[in-house]
């Protein structure tokens, strides 16, 4: 039976809550214990104590206490609510939702619990549940606009656009006072409604609404862009053209505006002169505009192209714009353009050679003029579509001769080495480039990347350490992990993998996996924040992006690496932990050598780790540097497998691979590399239907991929032996589906 508190203790209980809210955990704990001394079975106090323990990072203790509290007082909504909060802070959102629902049953009017539940529902994309919750919240406080907006969002995300619009309109009708023009919430709500109307495809109404209601909206750019789009959709070309011109006056570097304008001008697609005139107008208006001068190169041909390209290159070389090649290389899919550009660059070179050594117009800056043209040609011959590495070297060397301290030139030299397969020389050259400008992190990053490509993990980390925060406990790697530096973690993992240290490789891939978890969780706080801020369109944009988060190439690359590594671990099981020790008996000297080196490297890493830990331990816990330890604030969780030894020691590499693979297949089904890896995992696990599924996907994506017939043959072979043991229905599926797969 739950105990009841005396007045004095009831007051004390309130101070517990207050201390908790103020993050005064020690005081809160003291007060809670005072109550529990007299009332050891007061469920609510036990729960509050659990909550505080949880905030102090004592998760297990917190959970067990909260469970005890629940057994004592099943009917307390506080106990259930706390139980839900514990699950929530420990990222078990499904269980948290269940607990909140119990709490709400006991206390249906609790606004707080309802709000917590609603946030979890939208986080978990339980839209029907979210609609229900937001409806209850609206009913409780219909005078608040954000409650109306929130319900509209719930319907919108659930795909019910009409309902979403109705709700916004209903609220608008119930408002009596005209909102101020500076009422940001109002301005955004109008645009949000407008975007819903457009999403329904009714551009007529969207335009009407925009012009009638949104003229004064504070997000002017949005109004202008939407208007241009609607006018275009409605075929009101003349007005649309004006709208696009207004946009171009605002920002002449946005190609979409030109595209929009040209699209409504009724210019024949082959009338290059007329098309170019459109761009010329803006080039003349904005002398510093790049897009207006560069974009015509996309559609011009023949002499028209030559003339425009010549003018463009001349301007860029004169200015010494380093990205000139990068900005033009997409033109190389057109053979004529690919051949014309270097000729023009050579012509420029002829006209300007010697400029920089005399008093030429380059004003002594040898990255301009002649240097820029040499640089362009160096990159041209280094590019895979026009590659001639000896010529590339020749031009880059000439450029370097002209300007020996130019970072960009040396960077390209390193790239040429890379393409020659001279990885060590490439790393060296990039590091030389770095030494020419030690205050620039960009070139520092590149140098580290090239060191990693050369399997120099330790050196690369030292290089990176030149720019990471010195105060971060644990050194550069911890800082790079904290700052979610995916590229480094990926390259570092791949290098460890090449060096045979599977533990550290897996460690990096798992770290990246975890960063994506964090990114997914990052949206959590915005479900309520955005409602208050009123930036609804940006919020919808966020939710939709988060739904696709793991299709990002950052994720794909690391996950594919991990899957492939697990596959090779399955095929060649290692004796020792970490895939490094043992197996010397194989007699493969090179491999053994590699492993020895990796082992040594890991020892070094461990040493660094130890030193960092010692350094951390020396710091006064009350004045912790980076983590300002507020009263009992959660300290950073200690990593109990910093070198991935446990990861590499897995008994079930294929099972571990699934964690990465599922996301690959779910979010990037159209990337054939993922499907191919999927097949490899499934066939080893005897999951024939799933292997077939991957194979069918690969086939649909690229039937000429060399892996496709190979995998088809292997599947057939595997099935020959297995057919007998398959369930009849599975057999039936395989027989009919496999028939459609070409190959023997």
């Amino acid at each position: 039976m739950p105990q009841t508190l005396s007045t004095r203790e009831a007051n004390l209980f309130r101070t517990v809550i207050r201390h908790y809210e103020d993050k005064q955990y020690k005081r809160g704990l003291k007060a809670a214990e005072q109550i529990l001394k007299k009332n050891p079975k007061h469920g609510d106090t036990m729960s509050m104590k659990a909550l505080i323990l949880n905030a102090q990072g004592k998760t297990e203790e917190a959970f067990s206490l909260a469970k005890d509290a629940l057994t004592i007082d099943m009917k307390s909504y506080i106990c259930w609510h706390v139980y839900g909060i514990l699950y929530r802070t420990n990222k078990n959102f499904d269980e948290a939702i269940k607990a909140y629902k119990f709490a709400l049953k006991l206390e249906p009017d609790s606004h707080q619990i309802q709000r917590d539940l609603a946030v979890l529902q939208v986080q978990m994309r339980d839209y029907p549940g979210y609609i229900q919750s937001r409806f209850v919240m609206l009913k409780a406080r219909p005078q608040l606009r954000q409650n109306w907006t929130a319900l509209a969002i719930a319907y919108h995300l659930d795909g019910n656009l009409q309902k979403a619009e109705n709700i916004l309109s209903t609220y608008e009708k119930s408002v009596t006072a005209t909102p101020l023009r500076t009422d940001f919430e109002n301005s955004e709500a109008l645009l949000y409604k407008n975007s819903i109307i457009a999403e329904m495809g009714d551009f007529e109404q969207a335009l009407e609404h925009l012009e009638a209601e949104c003229k004064g909206c504070l997000d002017r750019l949005a109004v202008m862009e939407l208007r241009a789009r609607y006018l275009t959709e409605l075929g009101r070309k003349e007005d649309a053209a004006k709208a696009y011109r207004a946009l171009l006056d605002r920002n002449s570097e946005h190609p979409d505006y030109y595209k929009g304008l040209v699209g409504v001008l009724d210019i024949a697609a082959d009338d290059e002169g007329a098309l170019k005139a459109v761009y010329d107008e803006y080039a003349a208006k904005n002398p510093r505009c790049d897009a207006a001068k560069r974009l015509p190169l996309d559609f011009l041909s023949g002499d028209g192209f030559r003339a425009a390209a010549k003018a463009y290159l001349t301007l860029m070389f004169d200015k010494g714009v380093p990205s000139t090649f990068a900005n033009l290389k997409h033109l190389y899919s057109d053979t004529f353009k690919k051949e014309t550009l270097p000729v023009l660059a050579e012509e420029y070179l002829k006209e300007h050679s010697g400029d920089s050594t005399t008093d030429g117009h380059a004003n002594g800056d040898s990255s301009k003029g002649e240097g820029a043209a040499l640089y362009f040609l160096g990159q041209h011959y280094n590019y895979f579509m026009s590659r001639d590495l000896s010529k590339a070297t020749e031009f880059v060397e000439k450029a370097i001769e002209l300007d020996p301290k130019n970072v960009d030139f040396h960077m390209t030299k390193a790239r040429i080495f890379k393409h020659q397969g001279e990885i060590a020389k490439a790393a060296e050259a990039m590091d030389h480039a770095r030494s020419l400008d030690t205050r620039d992190r960009y070139i520092n990053s590149k140098a580290a990347k090239y060191q990693l490509r050369n399997d120099e993990n330790e050196k690369a980390l030292t290089t990176m350490g030149l720019f990471t925060r010195a105060e971060t406990v644990g050194g550069p790697l911890v800082d790079l992990t904290d700052m979610q530096c995916i590229w480094f973690l990926t390259e570092d993992g791949e290098a460890w993998q090449r060096r045979g240290d599977f533990g550290l490789a897996l460690k990096r891939y798992h770290t990246i996996f975890n960063i994506f978890d964090i990114w997914q969780e990052d949206q959590f706080d915005f479900h309520s924040f955005s409602l208050r801020k009123g930036q609804i369109r940006a919020y919808i944009d966020l939710v939709r992006w988060e739904d696709q988060l793991r299709e990002h190439p950052f994720y794909f690359r690391a996950a594919l690496d991990a899957v492939n590594l697990y596959l090779s671990m399955h095929d060649k099981p290692q004796n020792g932990a970490n895939g490094v020790e043992g197996s010397h008996a194989n007699g493969d000297d090179a491999a053994a050598e590699k492993k020895k080196a990796a082992k040594k490297a890991r020892k070094e890493a461990q040493k660094a780790e130890r030193e960092a830990a010692e350094k951390a331990a020396k710091q006064d816990p009350n004045k912790g540097g980076a983590q300002k330890s507020k009263d009992g604030e959660e300290m950073k969780k200690k990593d109990d497998d910093p070198n991935g030894v446990k990861l590499a020691a897995t008994a079930d590499p294929l099972g571990d691979a699934m964690k990465f693979l599922l996301h690959l297949l779910q979010f990037s089904p159209k990337n054939i590399e993922g499907q191919i890896a999927g097949f490899e995992v499934f066939i080893r696990r005897n999951k024939y239907l799933l292997a077939l599924r991957c194979l069918k996907a690969s086939l649909a994506l690229d039937k000429d991929h060399p892996k496709v017939p190979e995998q088809a043959t292997r599947l057939r072979k595997a099935l020959e032996g297995a057919m007998g043991s398959l369930a009849p229905k599975v057999k039936e599926v395989i027989e009919s589906e496999l028939a459609a797969v070409p190959g023997a």
Partner: protein
């Protein structure tokens, strides 16, 4: 090159650009905080000339400006602030940084009624200081000693945005004049020489339009007063 508004989906590659270029780095969530609080203020420069490699390519970010409005300005004046601005060294000399800044500044005034914009810059960063001071017109307010993690000092710089307000006011007035003229003539204005940001569309059609123009005058007064409206918390302080 494409200069456009930042979208949530750009953020991993913005973070990437920041990590490659600058020593001060941020969690993805901090970028989200900007993108969801002031989505009108942050811009990116995108390399559009890269051929796509997979169906899941994300545009490569070669420059960005991450900006915000100061939530509780110490001086009580609504203003913008540049949290981070950077352009890949491979994409310099195209004026990208300046173009990003100008887009952001415009929105600071239009959308949030900002009076000025401030930023921190390393005292050793001559190129950046040149851009802010000479090209954009910033003034150095003060030096913040050891502002950066590596111990370097920062200049705190500031640019008054009156000139943009002025411009907007003129456009608004012009729009109104145009409207009156159009009403008189009963046809659409010429539209060529006037920015279309305000007063666009077929003006003559609605007799209620006249009263709308009057409303606009009120609004203008409202705007002067209204800045405070946006910073409720501030009012309690001052």
């Amino acid at each position: 090159m494409d200069i456009r508004l930042l979208r949530s989906s750009d953020i991993p590659l913005i973070q990437h650009a920041n990590l490659e270029n600058l020593p001060e780095n941020y969690f993805l969530k901090y970028y989200l905080y900007h993108a969801l609080s002031w989505p009108q203020l942050s811009y990116v420069a995108v390399d559009v000339s890269r051929p796509p490699k997979t169906p899941y390519d994300y545009p490569k970010i070669v420059g960005y400006v991450l900006a915000k409005m100061e939530e509780e300005p110490a001086d009580g004046v609504q203003h913008g602030h540049i949290t981070s601005l950077s352009v890949m060294r491979t994409h310099r000399r195209l004026g990208i940084a300046e173009k990003l800044m100008r887009q952001s500044q415009q929105a600071m005034v239009e959308t949030f009624g900002g009076h000025y914009v401030s930023l921190h810059v390393r005292v050793s960063n001559k190129a950046a200081i040149h851009l802010y001071r000479d090209t954009l017109g910033f003034k150095t307010e003060k030096t913040e000693s050891k502002y950066y993690a590596d111990g370097e000092d920062a200049f705190c710089m500031k640019l008054e945005l009156d000139f943009i307000r002025e411009q907007l006011r003129e456009e608004e007035d012009e729009g109104k004049d145009k409207k009156k003229k159009a009403l008189k003539e009963g046809e659409e204005g010429e539209g060529e020489d006037v920015d279309e940001g305000e007063a666009v569309g077929d003006v003559g059609r609605d007799p209620a339009k006249g009263s709308k123009a009057d409303q606009k005058i009120k609004v203008k007064v409202g705007r002067g007063l209204g800045v405070g409206e946006l910073i409720e918390k501030d009012e309690s302080k001052h």
